[in-house]
Amino acid sequence: MKVHLSHPERQVEVRGPKRVKDLLRDLNLIMEAHLVIRGDDLVTEDELLKDEDQVEIRPVISGGS
């Protein structure tokens, strides 16, 4: 599956099927700081992602003073 990541913006190819929580763990990312979006839909951590899925892992944390 194609996985779109931000900060910096990039795309990685990951072999499916894979659960959302395993994908995040493999990429060393934590759920509390990210949303996982398949197509246009938010998915929960137990969702099984397939090879043909388009996935975005969107960081939710913003900084500043």
Binding site: S6, I30, M31, L35, I61, S62, G63, G64
Partner: protein, 320 residues
């Protein structure tokens, strides 16, 4: 994972509440949390005019959206800081929301351009006065939002600070024992003196992830890019640490910040009949220490407020 309320497929899990929700039930949860914050902290009422500080990011646009959905009278102000590329993009997001959503609620967007008012953008100003960009930005935004709220007779100014913002700020203040800042960490700050607008944070009960999920689920088009000036900011480090703790122990951020608020509410005040001398309330302290700035009349503890001092230094620096 299924929705805890209606048992259809969930779109988000919330470990700290031991719950998961579908889109409709999650939206209901968000509106309930914000209503609880507004009522519990006596932030504002139905007839009050609210000025929302918007940045084009997920938190402030979600806040504007939620307040309008709840039927409050909420306009918004965007302060254009002149950050190359980023400001244009974030302003467009705020404008698009104003045109597409806010207009249907008869709410308007005000825009202030720092470069037009002060002759320089944020990066140039920070360079001229040799201060970190984030702290310069904070001073400018606090000043601009407060002045606009007071001058245009809004009853209250609302910001999109969420639970993560408040918990990480509290962590930073506690790590450095900046006790003088703890008084100002509440989600509802009164208009303690003439020239200070009341300031409220209606999203303080929602985590940053929950606010982002609300924005995504409700198709709010916000700026996802991180502000280029925030790179390496201490707040990002504190948020990361807290999120690692939250992952191991769900509910940590809420227990930390809300526990602080409970302790603060229980602290004895002057005149409460306690035998021990008690600290003065924030409003009492403000009234004792603040007076109008000699240049702009906004409240300050010094003769000239930090914004006017900063602009004077920037002007002196640019003419050298």
């Amino acid at each position: 994972m299924n929705c805890k309320k209606c048992t259809i497929k969930a779109v988000i899990g919330l470990p700290r509440h031991n719950a998961a929700f579908c889109k409709a039930c999650f939206n209901e949860f968000v509106l309930e949390q914000v209503t609880r914050a507004i009522k519990g902290e006596r932030m504002f009422g139905r007839d009050d005019r609210i000025l929302v500080a918007v940045s084009g990011g997920k938190d402030s646009l979600a806040l504007w959206d939620i307040l309008l959905k709840l039927g409050y009278k909420a306009d918004a102000l965007y302060v254009d800081l002149g950050i190359p590329g980023y400001s244009t993009k974030s302003r467009e997001k705020a404008q698009r929301f104003a045109d597409g959503v806010a207009r249907t609620h008869e709410a308007k967007l005000l825009i202030h351009k720092v470069e037009e008012e002060e002759g320089a953008g944020i990066r140039e100003l920070a360079d001229l006065i040799h201060r970190p960009t984030c702290s310069t930005c904070g001073t400018i935004k606090r000043y601009q939002f407060n002045r606009a709220a007071v001058e245009q007779h809004y009853d209250v100014m609302a910001t999109g600070h969420n639970l993560d913002d408040e918990a990480s700020r509290l962590l930073g203040n506690v790590l450095h024992w900046q006790e003088e800042y703890l008084d100002k960490q509440g989600p509802s700050l009164p208009a303690s003196v003439e020239g200070f607008a009341k300031k409220v944070k209606p999203l303080y009960r929602l985590s940053e992830r929950e606010v982002a999920a609300y924005s995504v689920l409700n198709r709010i088009d916000y700026i996802v890019d991180e502000c280029p000036m925030a790179k390496g900011s201490k707040m990002l480090l504190y948020k990361d640490v807290l999120n690692r703790l939250e992952t191991e122990s769900p509910g940590t951020k809420q227990a930390f910040y809300c526990g602080f608020l409970e302790k603060q509410a229980r602290a004895p005040r002057q005149g409460s009949g306690q035998a021990q001398p008690a600290p003065a309330s924030m409003a009492e302290k403000d009234r004792a220490t603040l007076h109008p700035c000699a240049t702009c009349s906004q409240p300050t503890t010094a003769e000239i407020c930090s914004y006017c001092k900063m602009m004077a230094r920037a002007k002196a620096g640019s003419t050298r």
